[in-house]
């Protein structure tokens, strides 16, 4: 599904990713953990194609194609979804209108018929119910005046509507109380299938209690320095990142 080879990326002239390697297969859930400033959000933004994130070396293959050559909306239509860490507010644009436009843009790309207003509303209302979201969020402007938790649920709502092949969650768990965390995790779990993959970027392991990743990676100084199964996340929680740092330093420098 996703192959990242020797990825180097810069933000405002500063190298953040320095030779990142990662392979995610269809059907898998991977967790990427790491301390602040390790490059987690940079990875998410590079995958989604945000301007200002300059790839200087390496490649990213998505379903065998060069992902980096695609415009952000092409990536989205091809099934790459980013759940934003800080979803932006768009005043005056109603959430339902926005989501319908996005859903239909993606459906048209996949050769599916556009949903009319009634079909769309039926779909979105059912999905909102699953996410325990009030329908009033349909008529409000996109993310405007939403609390942190509401914004994150709104991201998951959009993810379920767009049915991506690869969902990248950028610290979707941050700032959520335990109920919201469970709802969000349930949403992600609903999406899991042998055809789909999830890349969950997080600072804490508590999301992983619900998500149960197939692989856990530690990102440090722009590289994956350690990979393991779920137990690695638990160990990180117990011991912090210091021991890995020492372990990496002890190894021969790259």
């Amino acid at each position: 599904m996703l192959e990242i080879r020797n990825l180097h990326a810069r933000v405002e002239g500063k190298e953040i990713l320095r030779g990142l390697e990662l392979v995610v297969r269809a059907g898998e859930v991977h967790a990427v953990m790491g301390p602040n400033g390790s490059g987690k959000s940079t990875l998410a933004n590079v995958l989604a194609g945000r301007a200002g994130y300059e790839v200087t070396e390496g490649e990213v293959l998505y379903r065998g194609r060069d992902l980096l050559a695609l415009a952000p909306e092409e990536r989205a239509r091809e099934g790459v979804f980013l759940a934003f860490q800080y979803p932006v507010e768009i005043p005056g644009v109603t959430n339902s209108y926005f989501m319908k436009a996005a859903t239909n843009a993606v459906r048209v790309h996949r050769g599916l018929p556009e949903l009319d207003a009634i079909d769309f509303l039926t779909l979105v209302k059912q999905t909102m119910k699953d996410l325990e979201m009030d329908e009033k969020f349909l008529s409000r402007s996109v993310n405007e005046g939403f609390s942190g938790g509401e914004k994150k649920r709104n991201e998951i709502l959009q993810m379920l509507l767009l049915e991506p092949a690869l969902a990248v969650l950028d610290e979707t768990d941050s700032g959520l109380d335990i109920d919201a965390l469970r709802v969000v995790a349930d949403g992600v779990n609903r999406l899991r299938s042998p055809q789909r993959a999830v890349l969950a970027i997080t600072h804490y392991q508590r999301l992983l209690d619900y998500l149960v990743p197939d692989r856990t990676h530690v990102l440090m100084n722009g590289r994956i320095v350690k990979s393991g199964d779920r137990s690695l996340a638990l160990e990180l929680e117990k011991r912090g990142y210091g021991w890995i740092e020492r372990e990496v330093e002890g190894a021969a420098p790259a």
Binding site: A76, A101, A102
Partner: protein
């Protein structure tokens, strides 16, 4: 301004044997002097008082200097007022046999605006079958209005049939000496619309929406007068989302509104005159004076405008809040693309007690467009308890455009509360990226964000027009983001 052609078209039919047919064969030679004004008045069989009024305006105009009207942040070459023909008969437009004969650019715009084919044909001047008989629609409409005592006719008609009303209110809001362009209009105006709503009557339909599919040549100098008597209500809609072309470069219209006690006038405009080409050649100079007087207690005047056309827009729909507890509103969206220039805004003059006004202005500049919001909020000394809130936001798309904000606040009463907020920013990269990440193309994303930006204004428009205005905005923005 396209109400005029609609009305004119209608009245032409009603007065088949009247003066309009006489006039059709005639165009006054270019140039302006007293004799031209006398001819105009004579052609229209006007009463002496109206001729005198025109002549006073003309005398005043000759003392005025166009330079004094050039304080706005717009530039245009010197206008040769002697090269304009001040009276030309409304010529019927050449009928086309099919849509294939229509300018492909206009056809494309019709498509984008989603205007039904029959209506497209009407707008473009293509012959249509009798099923869509606008005359019968109009006739039904008129009889309904007549039952309620509502007068809705051409200005010329009103001068003949209701001279007392015209004489009473003409120039009472915009005096003939008001400004260079309004004074010129007062001297030479050819026609326009007249509306009178009797006491207590609520006009049951949007005036002029039913007429917008009619077409005729628009006058350069039109005059509109709307009077809402005590407790009356009217919503008047001027203009059209369809692109309007006209060979006359200068348009100097005057609109006067009078709202008596407890009356409400809602005046909506969608202006989409020819803006000139992408290099800034051609296009209409739209120099309009619009003003409303809230004369009575609890009267209300609300202006809504969507300005996407014209090479130069110069207009400040204003409210004189004389009556206690009267309300003035101004909602505006203005877009300038390519080389368009717009200097627009409003004046809210608070004279009566507890008067309230709201200003919401949304400006969008792209290409090399230049845009200025210019406004005045004046609280007179006796206007106790006056309130104003203004919000002026500008959105910049591209690095060669400009956005300027000049709000004047003059307050002479300590109990007034006046608040003004303004922001200028470019379209947000974060918003664009968010939309793109959800699969939307750049142009759609821009259009969606800009429409969201304008929402507060669009929701003031009558429903069907809000939809078209929103599409019109998207069409105007095409190619703005490269």
């Amino acid at each position: 301004m396209s109400t005029n052609p609609e009305i004119t078209a209608l009245t032409n039919r009603e007065y088949e044997a009247g003066f309009t047919t006489d006039v059709e064969s005639e165009t006054v030679a270019p140039g302006l002097d007293e004799s031209v004004i006398r001819r105009i008045s004579e052609k229209k069989s006007e009463p002496q008082w109206l001729l005198d009024w025109r002549l006073r305006a003309f005398a005043r105009w000759r003392e005025m200097r166009e330079e004094d009207a050039r304080w706005a942040k717009v530039t245009f070459p010197k206008i040769d007022y002697q090269a304009i023909s001040y009276y030309s008969a409304p010529k019927p437009r050449k009928k086309l046999d099919s849509m294939d004969e229509v300018d492909p650019e206009i056809r494309a715009t019709f498509e984008k605006l989603g205007i039904p084919l029959t209506e497209q044909k009407m707008l473009a001047g293509v012959a249509v079958d009798a099923v869509f008989d606008s005359v019968s629609v109009a006739t039904t409409f008129r009889s309904k209005l007549a039952e309620l005592g509502i007068i809705f006719c051409s200005f010329s008609d009103a001068v003949k049939s209701h001279p007392e009303l015209v004489r009473k209110y003409l120039g009472s809001v915009v005096p003939y000496s008001d400004n260079y362009f309004a004074t010129l209009n007062s001297a030479v105006f050819t026609d326009g619309s007249f509306v009178y709503i009797p006491p207590g009557v609520r006009c049951p339909m949007e005036l002029s929406t039913y007429f917008r599919i009619n077409e005729a040549k628009t006058g350069q100098f039109e005059r509109t007068l709307i009077v809402a008597d005590e407790g009356a209500y009217v919503s008047y809609l001027e203009g059209c989302t369809a692109p309007m072309r006209d060979e006359n470069q200068l348009h100097a219209a005057v609109v006067e509104l009078v709202a008596l006690e407890r009356a409400t006038i809602k005046y909506s405009t969608v202006q989409n005159w020819y803006p000139g080409d992408k290099e800034g050649r051609g296009g209409i100079y739209n120099f309009v004076t619009k003003r409303g007087a809230c004369r009575g207690r609890r009267s209300k005047i609300s202006w809504t405008q969507v300005e996407t056309g014209s090479a130069i827009t110069w207009k400040y729909p204003s409210c004189i809040l004389q009556g206690d507890d009267s309300v003035g509103e101004f909602y505006s969206v203005a877009v300038t693309n390519h080389h368009q220039q717009a200097d627009t805004g409003t004046k809210m003059l608070h004279i009566g007690k507890n008067t309230r006004s709201t200003i919401v202005s949304k400006g969008i500049s792209c290409g090399q467009g230049q845009q200025t919001y210019r406004g005045l909020v004046e609280i007179h000394q006796k206007a106790t308890g006056a309130r104003n809130h203004s919000q002026c936001d500008s959105l910049l798309i591209g690095d060669r455009c400009g956005a300027h904000t000049f709000p004047y606040l003059d307050v002479r009463n300590s109990s007034a509360r006046v608040e003004h907020e303004a922001t200028t920013s470019k379209i947000s990269d974060d918003q664009l990226f968010y939309c793109q990440q959800r699969g939307l193309g750049t142009e759609d994303a821009v259009s969606m964000i800009v429409n969201g930006f304008c929402k507060e204004v669009f929701r003031e428009l009558p429903m069907e027009f809000a939809v078209e205005a929103s599409k019109l905005l998207s069409v105007t923005l095409e190619g703005a983001v490269g």
